[in-house]
Amino acid sequence: MRMPRAIFAHPSGRIGGFIVGLYLLLAVLGLLGLTPHDPLMQYRIDRLHAPDSTYWMGTDLFGRDVASRLMMGIGQSFTVAFFSVAFAALAGTVLGLAAAWFGRRWDGIVMRVMDVLLAFPAILLALLIVAVAGPGTWTSIVAIAIVYTPIFTRVVRGPALSLKAREFVDAARTFGSSSSYILTRHLLLNLVAPLTVQITLALAWALLTEAGLSFLGLGTQPPAASLGLMLSDSRNLMETAPWLMIFPGLAIMISILGFNLLGDALRDIFDPRMRRAIA
């Protein structure tokens, strides 16, 4: 119970938490199909209809309701972001812990492979993976997960190395605790803080990368909606139907803002130096 209260007490946490909560709600509604209109339904007579009380955010070139597509798109973008970050965090944690725990050759191999992956700019590596596997939701998830795995590996390995050298780990060994017990109980539990912060910030980056891939036509495929795809489709209609650009653009921006604010708040809350300063 302490965590939600701490987030609520932090100004960025309050705003970020509210935004993320709201988006989660919209995403769930979008995924369940509980939208004002059918997001795939083409209301031909109402093509490029400006926002009004029936179509809150107007309609697109095919007469589809933008608000409903936006909810579907948020659902889609969040699915990709959550799965990819979950995979990256899991893979990064396992690799980082293994590198720190087994050390020497294993550490060398894992970290050199991560160096190779980190030498690629993120979007480039994602593009390459998408080109290999073909565009689609699962490809985006795998691509983004691979791009962010090295970051999680580094975030885990550093602190895990210093934890490994601490007395309580020696003590646990002396008492006969198994490696797996020490790894999960003593190392992993102490890494919850940096991991939580990293996961929150990575979600912002994953949303951005997903939107970027979809914008280039390499992420979510039509007729499904995704924020990046909606934005890309709006380009040629910018002057006649600016709502097609403004709403998805704002939706992407605010979602990233939400995770960034929440990530900042979590960093403040978890950083013991800051906590001491406040106390």
């Binding site: 030498a119 979007i123 480039l124 290999v132 970027g212 600016p242």
Partner: protein, 319 residues
């Protein structure tokens, strides 16, 4: 010195790793390069013609033979021939790189020119309303994807002022500097925006740290003016994290801004890679990615060296 040598020794290893990843990955892309290059006309080729073309581009061999050849060529400065452009890969890259470099430099100049003063201002007005304003703006800036900003800029210009960004054929800096600048300024602002926001945040927090240090208090008590304390004593030390951040961002920008180049129709490195991947131009993808990774690593190394130059207390080799 030992640190530098150690870093340099890892360089070729990482580059070989990068090249193997790309080499294997690009060959797993479904479809073949010749069909991608000629489109429907590939159907008109006789098997013999197809084989001859494959042999010309060296793609008739198993991947490890192709890799070995490529590596051997690389040692002679030969990155292969682009199947899309029918020219040596290095020539194609060198044609596109100046734009990317110029765009990256312009974006960095904008980011530093806006970000550092904004960060210093916020730090010296800590916890005041103006500080809050700068922080909110920086947070929003950092959360704005560059493609959203690019579209917003284009929309505002066209709907509000009836002008469109200068597109069309790109003119290099040395041919028509004015036209070149008019073509690059909006993309540079687009890329520099979020970059400036990050610089603001980092310089603000670094400045706050430094301003509470003992030597700043000493300078103040010795009667150094407020401006002197900030610009002469505090800022040079606060700049260290700004240099790191700018270096990393600059390294990324040198890899080409795929989406922004696409929106503003700029023939930079980012679009070159994207097109090369879509066209399955093996040699070009391979060459570009290696070039980008190399730049990225060089920039990171320079950042580390700048670190030492800015803060003599850091002696990397001895740590």
């Amino acid at each position: 010195m030992t640190y530098l040598l150690r870093r340099l020794a890892v360089f070729p290893l990482v580059l070989i790793g990068v090249s193997i990843v790309v080499f294997v990955a690009i060959r797993m892309v479904p479809g073949d390069a010749i069909t991608a290059m000629l489109g429907t006309e590939a159907g008109l080729l006789t098997p013999a013609q197809r084989e001859a073309l494959a042999a010309y581009f060296g793609i008739d061999q198993p991947w490890f033979v192709q890799y070995g050849r490529w590596l051997l060529g690389l040692l002679h400065g030969n990155l292969g021939i682009s199947s899309t452009y029918g020219k040596p890969v290095l020539d194609v890259i060198i044609e596109r790189f100046p734009l990317t470099l110029e765009l990256a430099l312009l974006s960095m100049i904008i980011a530093l020119a806006v970000g550092v003063p904004a960060g210093v201002f916020a730090a010296t007005h800590n916890e005041k309303l103006s500080d809050l304003g700068v922080r909110v703006a920086a947070m929003i800036g950092q959360s704005t994807p560059n493609f959203v900003l690019a579209l917003l800029i284009i929309y505002t210009l066209s709907a509000g002022f009836g002008v469109l960004p200068a597109m069309g054929e790109f003119s290099p800096l040395w041919q028509d500097p004015l036209r070149n600048l008019s073509q690059l300024i909006l993309p540079a602002i687009t890329l520099g925006f979020a970059f400036a926001a990050s610089v603001t945040r980092v310089s603000r927090s670094a400045m706050l740290d430094v301003l509470s240090d003992d030597y700043v208090r000493t300078a103040r008590s010795k009667g150094v003016s407020a401006r002197g304390v900030i610009w002469r004593h505090a800022l040079p030390n606060a700049l260290i994290p700004v240099v790191t951040l700018s270096g990393i961002e600059f390294g990324y920008l040198l890899g080409g801004a795929v989406i922004v180049e696409q929106i503003y129709a700029l023939p930079g490195l980012g679009r070159l890679v994207l097109d090369a991947i879509l066209q399955r131009d093996y040699a070009l993808v391979q060459g570009c990615v290696l070039f980008i990774a190399f730049n990225f690593m060089i920039v990171n190394l320079l950042v580390d060296l700048a670190y030492v130059a800015l803060d003599p207390r850091i002696r990397l080799g001895e740590q």
